[in-house]
Symmetry: C2
Subunit: 244 residues, 2 copies
């Protein structure tokens, strides 16, 4: 069960720790039979805190839209899920999670032309200062934001990729129109950190949430880098799957 193991005087408020625990339990399916979170008094006993502290935690989860309290009945689970994201040579956003949700969508948040920084240039194997197109995109599953990504493309080959992406909502299709029939993921790096302000806004997270960060390089079939991207996923909504 969920109980025990919360820590005091750590700089992380008890109600937040407990909210995180309950969210995990919900996602894990611990309360699937009843469809409800245990009563506040029960949780207070389990976690060894005052009922008011439990109420703070549940209020935070209600704010996220995960639970809904009904006076006299209990606290109902509104939503739970953790999408499984396959990472492989053929990693694409919508592919692979298509059978887990009804609808996937990609939205263009912003775009700009810029010169390659040292870091991006290193990954794309080009010279620093080379013209690039930068895309900020948001990935949604069933209208729920899942990831936000910053991608860089060499401007000489993909100068107008933003327009095509805006029209089609698909990197794959945009590549195809620009003469790249197929592309492969050659490397992915994964780290994790706390969500920053932009994450909170774009991914509709609650403060203190965790984001999984992937840095990925895609190349065309001639092994020429075509896209370098940094994506930030809401950690409580996804799970990465690496198949070899």
């Amino acid at each position: 069960m969920a109980g025990q193991r919360i820590q005091r005087q750590t700089g992380v408020a008890l109600w937040r720790q407990i909210a995180d625990r309950i969210r995990m339990s919900i996602n894990h399916g611990d309360f699937d039979e009843s469809g409800m979170v245990p009563p506040e008094t029960t949780l207070a006993l389990q976690f060894g805190v005052n009922r008011h502290t439990i109420r703070s935690a549940l209020a935070a989860l209600a704010q996220e839209g995960i639970v809904r309290a009904v006076q006299g009945r209990g606290t109902l689970i509104e939503r739970k899920e953790r999408l499984s994201f396959p990472i492989s040579k053929r990693t694409r956003f919508s592919q692979g999670i298509g059978d887990q949700v009804r609808e996937t969508r990609s939205v263009l948040l912003a775009t700009s032309d810029e010169a390659a920084s040292a870091e991006v240039a290193r990954h794309l194997k080009i010279k620093t200062g080379t013209p690039l197109v930068r895309l900020e995109t948001l990935g949604q599953a069933d209208h729920r934001p899942v990831s936000r990504a910053t991608s860089w493309f060499p401007a000489d080959r993909f100068g107008n990729i933003a327009e095509i992406y805006r029209a089609t909502g698909s990197i794959t299709k945009a590549f195809r129109e620009l003469g790249v029939p197929d592309y492969v993921r050659v490397i992915t790096e994964i780290t994790a950190t706390h969500a920053d302000e932009s994450d909170l806004a774009d991914l509709q997270l609650s403060p203190g949430a965790i984001v999984l960060i992937t840095q990925a390089l895609n190349t065309d079939l001639d092994n020429v880098p075509v896209q370098y991207s940094i994506s930030r996923f809401a950690a409580d909504r996804v799970r990465f799957t690496i198949e070899n």
Copy 2:
């Protein structure tokens, strides 16, 4: 730079958010030239908080052994690193990070014989209740704990793997002695969460830290599952790298 973007009234104390930020900056190499963290007054200005709040953050980092304050001089960086962990068909703990540290070591924390739970049985493709050997291990790099893992092995083939592992400190060698010359990683799942009490103890983390969790299945060369394991990595010490 590190500044901005800390949030108030989120259930996560400012000093903890700032400590996490500074730790990240250190690991990212932002202060490599001087080998020191900026002065407290500078940080207070950058983060827009009181100097005392910065001092709380630095005190937490000092407690972790990451920085050391010297009166009159400044706050020195004692240690930083984020090991890069390759994940591939041939994923092993010590291999791949060998060139990043002087010494890697694996320690057996506990072992037990137990019957397969439904979940473990499903992964190992055996019947629920089948006898298993469970190993709790701790992975260290340069005497610093990096990951803790729970692994299950079918008892019929690997009944005494614990002894051999204890003697050799290597799963690979244990497998070899037990008639498995080679094995491959067929699937890895990655999630992230906050560290629990055991993580804090075993991995010597500070409360509120993040752990990356991998669930992995290894098979022998005949595609028969030989090991299912759940590992928990200190997120601020590692980075996963998936190469295709």
